[in-house]
C-alpha cells in the first residue's frame, strides 16, 4: 500500500488546507478512492492484465478526458513498467480519437429521437502492429466507454474475449476505465473548488 494519496498529490492538497478539511468529511470515500487506485494499479492478484497494460489504458483514458495532470501521472507509470516504447503510438491514438462526448445511439426504442452519431474509433493497422491486438482492442473499448457508453454491447465484450482477454480480465479493465472516469472528474471538480477558494482568499 502506498503512503501517498493520488488525488491529494495531483492537486497538491496539504494537511490543514481547506480542501483537506472538505475531503476529511467523507473519510471512507477519500480512503477508498485511494484503495481503488491501489486495487487496480498495485493489485494483489495481477490476473491476465499486466501492470504496463493497466498504466497504458489509464494514460489513454485520462488523455481522452483531457485531464493532463492525471495523464502525465499514468504515462510516468507506463514508463516505470517498461512501456515507454508505446507512448508515441498512444499519443497518435489520442490525437486521432479525442472528440467531444457523450454521444451515441440509444438501445431504448422511445429514446431514438435523442440518438446522436459520432466517431466509432478503431485503431488502424499501424497502431495495432505497435500495440498488439489485445491492447488495441482494449483501447477501442476504452474509447467506447469514455465517449459513447450507451452504445456498449455484448458484441463489444465478445471482441475482447476474442482477442484473448478472460472474463475476469474484462471485469478488471472495465473497472479500470470506469474508475479513471471517476478519478479524473474528482480531480477536475476539486481543482475548480480549490481555485475558487484561492480567489476568495486573495
Amino acid at each position: 500500500m502506498s503512503d501517498i494519496d493520488v488525488i491529494d498529490e495531483i492537486l497538491a492538497i496539504a494537511p490543514g488546507d481547506r480542501l483537506d478539511a472538505v475531503r476529511s468529511v467523507r473519510p471512507q470515500a477519500r480512503e477508498n478512492a485511494q484503495r481503488s487506485y491501489e486495487a487496480l494499479f498495485e493489485p494483489v492478484a495481477i490476473g491476465g492484465v499486466s501492470l504496463a497494460d493497466r498504466a497504458v489504458v489509464a494514460a489513454f483514458t485520462s488523455a481522452l478526458l483531457r485531464e493532463s495532470d492525471l495523464a502525465e501521472f499514468y504515462r510516468a507509470a507506463a514508463v516505470d513498467h517498461g512501456a515507454a516504447d508505446l507512448l508515441a503510438a498512444l499519443d497518435a491514438a489520442v490525437a486521432e480519437s479525442a472528440v467531444v462526448g457523450p454521444y451515441g445511439a440509444y438501445r431504448e426504442s422511445g429514446l431514438a429521437a435523442e440518438s446522436t452519431g459520432g466517431l466509432r474509433w478503431q485503431p488502424g493497422p499501424e497502431l495495432e502492429s505497435v500495440l498488439g491486438v489485445r491492447l488495441a482492442r482494449i483501447l477501442a473499448h476504452a474509447h467506447l466507454l469514455v465517449f459513447r457508453p450507451r452504445e456498449a454491447s455484448a458484441a463489444a465484450l465478445h471482441s475482447l474475449l476474442d482477442a484473448g482477454w478472460s472474463t475476469t480480465d474484462v471485469v478488471t479493465l472495465s473497472q479500470l476505465v470506469a474508475f479513471v472516469n471517476f478519478q479524473a472528474r474528482v480531480v477536475i471538480g476539486l481543482r475548480a473548488l480549490q481555485r475558487d477558494i484561492e480567489k476568495e482568499q486573495r
Partner: protein, 203 residues
Amino acid sequence: MSETTIERDDVVAPERFTQESLGWVPWLQPLPKADFTDRHWDGVVDRQRADMPYFALLARDPEILRARTLTDNDIFYNTDGGAPRAERELAAAATSRLNGCVFCASVHSRFASEQSGRSEEVQRLLDEGVEAPLEPRWRAVVDASVALTRVPSAFGTDDIASLRAQGLGDEEISDVIHGAAFFNWANRLMLSLGEPEVPARRR
C-alpha cells in the same frame, strides 16, 4: 467455460427513462457462488449481493469491487454534513440521464424522489432531459453534474459560483462533485457489462 458472452433474446427492454424499478441482465458470466473464496466474500461487502448478477460479476475482481462499494456508500449515505441526500441522488440521476444509463437513472431518480418528495420534477428530468425546467438550486446541481460529465469537462469556477449562489458551501459542493463523478464510474459498468430489463411482474 465462462469465456464467452451471454446471449439472451428474450430480454424485455425498457423503452425510455423511468423511475420504476428495473432488472439487470449480465452479458458476461457472474462468478458462481460455489467458486467464492473468502477474498470474494470480502469483495461483495454485503453477502446478499452475491445473489445479484451485477455484483457477482464484479466479484471476479474483488479488491476493486470492495473499494468501489465503500466509496459509493460514503458519498451517498454518509449524512455527516454536506449536501442533502436528495441532491446527491439528483447529481447521480442527472449524470445517468446525460450518459444514457437507463438502469442507473431508474434507481437514483427514484431515490431522489423519495428523499425530496418532488417526484414530478424528477420525472421532468427523465422525460425532457438535463435541460428540463427545475427550481434554481436543483438547476445549479444538475448543471454542475452535466458540466463535469461532458468530455472534455466543462466544469470550472463558474459552476462553483453558481452552486455558491444557491447557498451551497464547500462540503455540499464536494458532495455534488463526488455524486456526479461516481456515476461516471457506475454508468460505465452498468452500461457496458449488461442491460436493463423490465421485470416479469410488470409486463
